[in-house]
Symmetry: C2
Subunit: 345 residues, 2 copies
DNA sequence: CTGAAAGCGCTAACAT
DNA sequence: ATGTTAGCGCTTTCAG
């Protein structure tokens, strides 16, 4: 390891000056600056960030904690964060919690030892308490909110997105619109459900609890939940489904296929969050698309602003985009309530 | 920040003993160990890994450099690496190169300052030279090889996987089998191409350079390459396509759709590397599946073995799995060469 | 088995 | 504008 001392020696200055020349050039004569720069270059000097961080009591490092890096939505968030951090000379320490509060706690503990300057986190329901492990650390909550007082949050307008999706279904004439919704201890799921409720109300449709099934965000959950809804008796089975996230949307489509239901003829379906598979499936799925990459970059920019003492809004909401594709269509006549055979007297 | 000194004070021992009690318990009396442990617990002590690493001249940190975190294959590799590292108390510093040699160089430079104990890298073609930035660092090359002498590599048997795929197509009676192949400066692309060549030879089919189109691994490249192949004149157009990676496979399917070609009736298609979309598209795509997660865990395990001085093979090859689905079928009669109208004398 | 002392590489006071 | 000095928090000789 070539250290600052050797650079200093070669440039015939003290280590302190060498340090200044490299990190705060304005404090040093141009000639010395150049000499030091040349020496560093010649020796292939790279600062030891550990020593620097130790001395400065803080590293040029950011923590990023997501709940599922295998979900392309999260991978895209991560890319956004990384790209911005990178451009500003920050290194990102990324952790994965698999939606488990225990892993989140361990991630925070590990992170703490690295003295990060800030944290961007997609919080699990336990984040509210886990974040106590990182007192005084600037935190941006991304995609969801933990409900902590004074937290900074970058997220999407889930309620409006869901409202748009369900209104679309209602406008197509659907009267029994089911929802596969995430766990209600996660803010996005709550908000998407709220949008669903409001859209039903505005369309003059009743809210039926039996048409709403919860799931744990995974494909298998979506499949099971959709299966339950789609095997309801003919007159009660929903003719349309709104699914709360991208993975569960695949599951719902597979459930429909299992049952021999044709999209959009036998069932209309809208998913929340776009994905490669939503685009390439047949039929292509109508979705509420989220600006995942922008969420990531914005979260990171917001954190950096915070670190530099700039004024930052507590809550930034980005809009979703309703993307109509081929999985939604008007209710076919034989599905409308009037057409259902009712046992007469 | 509660430091070791405070823990020591509370436990009524010297900082040195406190350190030993926490990290090398066997050097200390059981009673003291317990006392220190309790003190640390009580104060919520977390070691400052920066100070520790500085002192030890090396951190419990591993570098991970992938070329495209948005590609689920890479995300899965990363998850595998992380899970193992995590279980062994290592923190992973992950970087993304977007397949750009310049970003790779910067990633290596940044990494160096963090004094990682080892590196796992999916090398770009420039890695051969970029790796000079990290002399003496144990390196595992993952998925591809840079060709560096003495490198350790964990990868898949690309040649055999490709051979299997193309043999399958030949067995179905296809005689004009095209390939969309990655850039030839990447070892996987070279090997997959080699498998293609050998399968053709074994099936007694000629190798036709005009049926092989290169692409840069992205969907758009696959689409363009496939478009070129599929718009060849009727008698020369391939009746089957083997596509070199997952993203380009989507592209190829889209190209076929653009041209109104029906899979598998008008065109058989096999992709390399499985994906969610390959499974959910209609028809589901036949693929050569890679054990991505296992590659990741194995790479990390191999690196840790190396760090602990255990004997490790220079090259570990995992097998692929041929997964037949619905995108491949026998050549329909009207496509066979005999059926093509040839201008007679 | 435990303590005292030194030092990892760097930067921030303080001096000049 | 530059050098001197001290010390970030930890681990590791070296003594005892």
């Amino acid at each position: 390891m070539v250290g600052l001392e050797e650079v200093a020696k070669l440039a015939r200055v003290s280590p302190a000056t060498a340090s200044r020349a490299l990190t705060r050039p304005e404090l040093v004569a141009e000639a010395t600056r150049a000499r030091v720069a040349r020496a560093a270059e010649a020796l292939g000097y790279r600062p030891n960030v550990l020593a620097r961080s130790l001395r400065q009591r803080g590293s040029r490092t950011l923590g990023l904690v997501v709940t599922d890096i295998l979900n392309p939505f999260h991978a895209t968030l991560a890319k956004g964060v990384q790209d911005v951090a990178d451009a500003q000379g920050y290194t990102v320490l990324m952790f994965n919690t698999d939606e488990e509060s225990d892993k989140e706690r361990r991630a925070f503990e590990t992170l703490r030892g690295h003295l990060p300057r800030g944290l961007i986190v997609v919080p699990t329901p336990a984040a509210h308490v886990n974040l106590d492990l990182l007192p005084d650390l600037p935190v941006i909550e991304l995609d969801r909110t933990s409900g902590r007082a004074g937290a900074h949050t970058v997220m999407v307008d889930n309620e409006a997105g869901a409202y748009r999706a369900v209104s679309h279904l209602a406008a197509l004439g659907h009267r029994r619109i089911g929802m596969v919704v995430g766990q209600q201890d996660i803010s996005t799921a709550v908000e998407r459900h709220a949008g669903y409720v409001r859209a039903l109300a505005d369309a003059g449709l009743p809210y039926r609890p039996d048409l709403v099934r919860p799931g744990h965000h995974r494909e298998a959950d979506g499949r099971a939940a959709a299966h339950t809804l789609l095997t309801l008796p003919p007159g009660e089975r929903p003719t349309a489904l709104f699914v709360g996230n991208n993975e569960m949307t695949v599951g719902a489509v597979l459930a429909a296929r299992d049952l021999g239901l044709n999209l959009p003829h036998d069932l209309s379906l809208v998913g929340f969050d776009d994905s490669r598979w939503a685009q390439t499936m047949t039929p292509a799925i109508t979705v509420v698309a989220q600006p995942a990459y922008d969420l990531g970059t914005l979260a990171c920019r917001t954190l950096l602003d915070l670190l530099e003492g700039r004024e930052v809004p507590e809550l930034v909401r980005l809009s979703t985009t309703f993307t109509q594709r081929d999985s939604t269509a008007p209710v076919p006549a034989h599905h409308s309530p009037e057409a259902v055979a009712v046992p007469g007297p």
